[in-house]
């Protein structure tokens, strides 16, 4: 497992470097926005992955609630996965927002606009920050179950947030990749490389945090066992 992790991490680093090269040197400069458009090669992949990881968190939480009375080991694993994916959500969505803010200033003339996507992405970030805060504030028995319940609420809330905010206002550029807009194929391939790089990087980060959390759980377990004099 450790070798596989090392290989995956190395692949992610190489791909991130290659993506950087593709975005800066290979992809052509966009006609209207100029070089500032290149921020999309990070901003979009970060946000795409940041919108997938909440569901990893939700599925892991459902698995935790389902497993906790049946299989302790599997339940602990699901719980660690839930925390790791929530942390990566906060990291990726946060970085994506920073990228968007940096792009907004030259492109829109303002750092921040309360349009549909910026608002709903910010709310997505807030939801998972609140999940991590709940984990921090509550300890002792039951805190994992409670966090899992909140995670299900958050997962249900995410699509409602996106829908409601879309009805509310729209200023963000319409999706270019799936829309009618014509994109240079070189740009497309540079984007695809970056998406792949960030995808693997996200897996590496979740894996690393998962492994750390599992060790923390094992440590806490051993301490508890020592306290009652079993081990």
């Amino acid at each position: 497992m450790k070798t596989l992790f090392t290989i995956l991490a190395a692949v992610a680093v190489v791909l991130l470097g290659f993506g950087l090269y593709q975005a800066f040197l290979v992809a052509p400069t966009e006609a209207t926005m100029g070089p500032v458009q290149r921020i999309f090669y990070w901003h979009v992949p970060l946000n795409i992955i940041g919108e997938i990881t909440p569901y990893v968190n939700m599925l892991a939480s459902i698995a935790y609630i389902f497993l906790r009375g049946r299989n302790q080991l599997a339940a602990r694993r699901a719980d660690a996965l839930a925390v790791a994916s929530a942390e990566v959500t906060v990291l990726f969505v946060g970085l994506g927002l920073i990228g968007g803010i940096l792009w907004g200033r030259p492109a829109w003339g303002i750092w921040w606009a309360w349009d549909a996507r910026t608002t709903s992405t910010l709310l997505l970030l807030l939801l998972y920050v609140s999940y991590l805060l709940l984990r921090r504030f509550s300890d002792g028995p039951g805190s994992r179950t409670i966090a899992a319940v909140l995670s299900i609420f958050a997962g249900v809330d995410v699509p409602i947030v996106f829908m409601s905010i879309r009805w509310w206002r729209t200023q963000h550029p319409a999706p270019v990749l799936t829309g009618d807009g014509e994109i240079d194929p070189v740009m497309k391939s540079a984007f695809a490389w970056n998406l792949l790089a960030f995808f693997i990087w996200g897996i590496v980060l979740i894996w690393a945090r998962y492994a750390t959390l599992r060790r923390e759980q094992a440590l806490a377990e051993r301490e508890a066992l020592q306290l009652i004099g079993v081990a």
Partner: protein, 230 residues
Amino acid sequence: MTKARHYLSIVLLHLRKELHLEWRSRDAITGMLFFTLLIAVVFSLAFDPTSNPTLARQISGGIAWIGLLFAATTSLNGSWAREQRNQVLDAHRLSPAPPSALFVGKALANFLFVTLVEVVLVPVFVLFYNIRPLGQASLLWLILPLGTWALVLNGTFFSALSLRSRNRDLLLPLILFPISIPALLAVVNGTTSVITGEFDPNLWIRLLAGFDIIFTVVALLLFGTVLHAE
């Protein structure tokens, strides 16, 4: 059928108990009422509603709901905290009664309390902010209960979630506000549309109804898990 009636009777039992307890002290209602009143007054100092009638019309709905949300968070924690005294919560855990009935009873009681606060508050806002609704005022009969239920449902559920945490009073708004934002957005926009008459509130009413249905189902399904979390 008997099962449904049995469930309903337990819900009513919890509701009656909540109303009884509140009637003895009247803490929650008095507190919420005064809190929201204060918010109305403080905001009217921040801008002058008398000389800016259009602005007053546009923002008074938002101020009223934010005031109610803040007021509800201050009193909702108390509604579970009293279950902790004398290990009442443990008794609930041992009881064979369905756990969600306890939740529904409590949520209904809180719904009635917040509705009562609204009944007093609406005339106050009309008076202080010189509001004359330009839209279809009868829609408020739909918007107010739907919005109140969204607020109270999540509030009651999350205050049960934060029971076991340190910093309980701090934690409730931190987890309640992000989840409730779609409902808050819908209820504020719905109310504003009734007051200003500038746009159609139908979309927002539908969003509120959807939010209420979805989260009522999720809360009913998960409350047992929360109660037996240990």
